[in-house]
């Protein structure tokens, strides 16, 4: 089991959804790895394809009418693309746990939280009711819900937003997953609650050695929790690097632009936030050449606007920018130094 191969290998994954404009490619040849005992963040804005990538990887786009056009997703040596639902159901919730943005809509209001966690354990592990309940209480205890034994018998509405997210996390780790997929798990929470959830995820990861694939739009959260970062824009990976390299020396104008647009960074640098002009590219009208080119202040006519730009290695990471080498020092200088 403990091999050198990554736990999750996404290769050239393309996903399409139907629209009045025909099939739209909303994930376009996306590749990345999640290593063992690793925390990888996929970061992007709305419409970047970050959530769909994750859903496609675990077979959740077909029920929504989407299709996997091409590509491969290997999880712990098994190919997930093309796998039947029965087999996928055995993996989802067991070896792969999930947490979503809105804990209230992911929990059933008619059952106690203990019953819901126990159900997952019974289904995947075939434990008796009593043992599954014990396991549920243990899971609630691991996410630091005080007096877990009595709270397990309460219903979701009796928990606050932050506590519900803890319940969701308890459910997702109850079967000791190898991979935890967290899709914007703190976005709906207040910042003081977010800080505690991030702390909890870090602790659970450290103690269990599971890997975490964390999807977010917030570069602050990325800096807080990630070891490796994948930046998506316009359905493609535009940059991928270790967290220190990404923040210390961003190679893609979009990455450095996002940083410059953040209020905290602007405050640090003592100027107004620098907006990225224009709006996020849409799947029915990708610009030709680099998909970021209409918004890029470093755009060069021809170089950036005619042919598709490949994702190429640079400085230990990968970047999709025709001018990456010459912009290296410019973008590096634009970075914050603490």
């Amino acid at each position: 089991m403990e091999s050198d191969t990554p736990l999750l290998e996404v290769r050239d994954l393309s996903v399409q959804f139907p629209s009045p404009h025909g099939w739209l490619t909303v994930v376009d040849k996306v590749s990345f790895n999640v290593g063992r005992n690793d925390i990888v963040c996929v970061v992007g804005e709305s419409g970047s394809g970050k959530s769909v990538t994750m859903q496609a990887a675990v077979g959740l786009v077909q029920p929504k009418g989407g299709r996997i056009k091409s590509g491969s997703v290997r999880f712990d040596g098994q190919e997930l693309v093309g796998m039947g639902n029965r087999q996928l159901n055995r993996i989802r919730g067991d070896a792969i746990g999930f947490i979503f943005q809105e804990p209230m809509s992911s929990l059933n209001p008619a059952y106690t939280v203990g019953e819901q966690i126990a159900e997952v354990v019974r289904r995947h592990r075939g434990l008796s009711r009593a043992d599954a309940w014990k396991r549920a209480v243990e899971a609630l205890d691991r996410v630091h819900i005080a007096s877990a034994a009595s709270r397990a018998a309460e219903y979701p509405h009796q928990f606050s937003g932050g506590m519900r997210q803890r319940v969701m996390i308890a459910m997702s780790i109850a079967c000791d997953p190898k991979l935890l997929i967290a899709d914007e798990p703190t976005t709906a929470l207040d910042v003081t609650i977010q800080a505690r959830i991030l702390e909890l995820l870090r602790e659970l990861q450290r103690d269990s050695g599971m890997s975490v694939l964390f999807i977010t739009h917030d570069l602050g959260v990325v800096a807080d929790i990630a070891r490796h970062v994948v930046v998506m824009y316009g359905a493609q990976v535009v940059e991928s690097a270790d967290v220190d390299n990404l923040f210390g020396a961003p190679r893609h104008p979009y990455t450095s632009g996002l940083l410059g647009a953040m209020p905290q960074v602007a405050l640090e640098r003592g100027h107004d936030p620098i907006a990225i002009p224009g709006t996020v590219a849409q799947a029915h009208s990708w610009p030709s050449g680099c998909r970021f080119n209409p918004r890029c202040i470093y755009r060069e006519e021809g170089t950036c606007t005619t042919t598709a730009i490949p994702l190429e290695p640079i400085g230990g990471g990968l970047v999709r920018c025709a001018r990456a080498a010459e912009l290296q020092s410019t973008l590096g200088r634009a970075m914050v130094t603490a």
């Binding site: 003081t192 505690r196 800096a223 953040m262 209020p263 107004d272 936030p273 907006a275 603490a338």
Partner: protein
């Protein structure tokens, strides 16, 4: 305050009726806003910061009389808002407007942009039709949209563009005050700053006062020279934004600032954070004494016995915290020296 106040709020209380405790039970009230006072000068922005349940949005709604005021005074210029009759309110509406958080639900999807922007003109002002059309074109351009967009519907626009439309609609009648309720938090980061810069520009041109309700202190710091921080219905700290952001004098403010992750992994690893334990207490039965005491990492005996007095803070503003007179006796200094080099986790 540099000039005469546009908005003056004194001892504002807002409560919601939350039904009774069982059959023939006592009617219960939820005090969402408790004794809030604030002032905004003409053309100025005041930031009102807090998390969910702090009462910041309720305060904004009550100031516009979109919900009822339980007690206290609200004055727009010389006019009494809190006590205004229905017909007086109607006249007041054109002088104060609101921009909501979610531009996907705040614009009527069956109306064109022209109709959306024209509506306030028809209701509140007697302006000929062709003049109205010219005004709409000018307003669209001033919020950075083509005048030609007037014939389109809201669904044809992105979130950032919709928020521009919502701002245009609020500004149509040149109001004296606009309450901005989380105007950028539903937007992508790359467009957030576009909207922040637009709001600043519009204020510079129009001289409208803004009450900026937001959870993100860094957004408020960028947008407004002064800030008030709310917790569980009360203002716990006020002051110049720079002072409050860099040198908080209330533990809640300090926790709020330290909880926001900074986009620098190296700094995130070594930063000293204040992690608040517990949950927001129920506003139905707020804690005795200081309302923050159940989550405060520095809680003392006195905190449950007496409500903290407002203390003047070095560098401007007020903070309601016993630490200034008891314990470390900060005497109006910021908490920074006191909390330096500590990883602070509150109990609860």
């Amino acid at each position: 305050m540099s000039n005469k106040p546009c908005l003056r709020v004194e001892n504002l209380h807002v409560s919601y009726d939350v039904g009774s405790t069982g059959f023939l039970g006592k009617r219960r009230k939820l005090h969402a806003v408790n004794d809030v006072s604030l002032e905004i000068g003409a053309g100025e922005t005041l930031g009102l910061v807090g998390e969910s349940g702090s009462g910041k949005s309720t305060a904004g709604l009550a100031i516009l009389r979109l919900i009822d005021v339980a007690s206290g005074t609200v004055r727009l210029g010389e006019t009494d808002v809190a006590g205004a009759t229905r017909s007086e309110l109607r006249a007041l509406r054109r002088r104060m407007q609101m921009v909501f958080q979610d531009p996907y639900s705040s614009l009527n999807p069956s109306m064109t942009i022209a109709q959306l922007l024209e509506e306030p003109l028809i209701i509140h002002a007697d302006i000929p039709k062709d003049e109205r059309k010219a005004m709409i074109g000018r307003m669209l351009e001033s919020v950075g949209l083509h005048a030609g967009y007037a014939a389109r519907y809201p669904h044809e626009f992105s979130g950032g563009q919709r928020q521009r439309i919502a701002i245009a609609r609020a500004m149509m009648l040149h109001p004296e005050l606009v309450v901005l309720d989380e105007p950028v938090s539903a937007l992508d980061v790359s467009t957030q700053s576009q909207i922040m810069n637009l709001l600043k520009k519009i204020q510079g041109d129009s001289g409208t006062a803004f009450l900026l309700v937001a959870h993100d202190l860094s957004v408020v710091r960028l947008m407004s020279p002064r800030v008030a921080v709310m917790y569980l219905g009360e203002i716990v700290e006020t002051g110049p934004s720079g002072r409050v952001y860099d040198q908080p004098a209330h533990p809640y403010t300090a926790a709020l600032i330290s909880a926001v992750p900074f986009p620098d992994p190296e700094r995130q690893r070594r930063v000293n954070r204040i992690i608040l334990g517990g949950d927001l207490p129920s506003p139905m039965s707020p804690p005795s004494g200081c309302r923050f005491r159940t989550r405060c990492p520095f809680v003392m005996d006195i905190c449950s016995k007496e409500a903290p007095p407002k203390v003047a803070v070095e560098g401007g503003g007020l903070a309601s915290c016993h630490l200034h007179a008891h314990g470390p006796k900060l005497g109006g200094r910021s908490l920074n020296d006191f909390i330096r080099d500590k990883q602070i986790v509150s109990a609860a």
